[in-house]
Assembly symmetry: C2
Homo-oligomer: 326 residues x 2
Amino acid sequence: VTRPGETELIARYFAPLAAAGGLGLRDDAARVTPIPGWDLVVTVDALVESVHFLPGDPPGSIARKALGVNVSDLAAKGADPLGYVLALALPAGWTEEWLAQFSHGLEAAADDFRCPLLGGDTVRASGGLTLSVTALGQVPGGTMVQRTTAKIGDVVCVTGTIGDAALGLALRGDPDWARDLDDSQRAVLADRYLNPQPRIALAPALRRHATAAMDVSDGLAGDLAKMTAASGVSALIDGAAVPVSEAVRAAVVRVPDLIDRVLTGGDDYEILCTVPADRLETFRLEAHKAGVTLTPIGRIVEGRTPPVFKVAGRDRSYEAGSFSHF
Amino acid sequence: VTRPGETELIARYFAPLAAAGGLGLRDDAARVTPIPGWDLVVTVDALVESVHFLPGDPPGSIARKALGVNVSDLAAKGADPLGYVLALALPAGWTEEWLAQFSHGLEAAADDFRCPLLGGDTVRASGGLTLSVTALGQVPGGTMVQRTTAKIGDVVCVTGTIGDAALGLALRGDPDWARDLDDSQRAVLADRYLNPQPRIALAPALRRHATAAMDVSDGLAGDLAKMTAASGVSALIDGAAVPVSEAVRAAVVRVPDLIDRVLTGGDDYEILCTVPADRLETFRLEAHKAGVTLTPIGRIVEGRTPPVFKVAGRDRSYEAGSFSHF
């Protein structure tokens, strides 16, 4: 098989995706002119085959996920996307067809997320496919929403629905509970695992109203525990208020214990945030106008213990509630 | 063996390295406030075990190299370093001792290069150690030095000495020619491979005087060919003018054909640049004041052919003169 060299590969598959600041990917660096008075927000996430995605996943969805998880971090900080750079380590058996699909997926995701390619590096992997995306965003000076600043009395909110991706991944094991789901419900869950939808539309409202925020990537329970620990507070959560899709509801009705997986499973890429009670309605209205459903699920309270989830009348806390990729 | 989890690992080994904008590495993103009116310069390079470094290389030098190759790109663009993010994929057998040495090396390199840690992601590798560094730099608006803008008549210059790292790597194969080198010469060559010294001190002079620039990472001949092709020009280079260390000179005297490896070998992390003839002396003086030796080696000429190197009375051009990591 004849395969293009690095220069040709970049020219063919990645240069067409480059933003103006990417200089056609013909230079050693990209150039970005920040909006005067705005701060830059920088985040990086690496994805590794068999750790963060499965070898047979569609190339386009691997691309979308690699960019999406980073743009989700930007959104949670209240930042508007500016662009991204990609480090791509390709395993021995890569093909042009794989790369064509990957770059198409990347282009579509970058369009959807308004986050264009600025630069990259393509190398040979030692082992499986490994990607690292660094995404840049921007916020008006001083308005980046931090994780460490939740306040006692704040309302805890979450966007969208929780648990779809975790059950979407679990579907692959063909569990008993999945037999009650119809095809469209299965498709919804599987798609949420493959194609995260970062909540970039919420960023402006978030920086106006939220006291603290982070994205839900490692499970709602664990990520909330990280936020409360970092803020020196605790939280009381009403499990019944946690928003779930019809598909997840159907699965949990069949197997009640699945609620634990919903709350701890990860890959949601929703936004978890806290807001003063007197701003909740304004915030929800602005979120709604931006096309994002925002649901209050509990309160920030005094204390240093992990958040308590009231589920089916019982208090649960999830000590090891967060998935560690490590 | 008990090893720390991801959160503890970050707190122990990386948080102490974080710049103010890194927010103690306790958030999902870093915050950077650019200098008003300055442009941001962004570059990314990935390093893979057995491709870009050898499994037994000292952890501190792997760290220094990962940061150094990126800071070298910034320097070549005339940019002052701002900070970097690191994606680190650790192989199955990592130890705390390895990580302690790695983070110490990273800290020392970041201090030397004035490029502090802003954030990162640590994951499990599929295969060998894989690192990706995205470095941010800044230049006064509009002054980033590009690769594509060399002009006919410009003088071609290079910093420092060329070929040390390539012969330093070759030393490991215990070649015949190395027997004539003394211990300090061997040490100089080996060190240049392990510990690149990005020419950040040259950045201000570079943006004042250079018409085009890039760093020499894949071999002088190949990188110059990239620059001339991207600029739509060619170049005539005097091989005898290419600056080399005493150690390289000794090796080439013993085995004249080593000159090809010197000119194509890579890992130099010097800066290749072009400057109008009437600015050469001012540029060299400013470089000298910054502690960087700048040597003119030839001229940019009309044409579309690869650069010609006059070596020992013969014209050579290096078609496949650039090392491809791919």
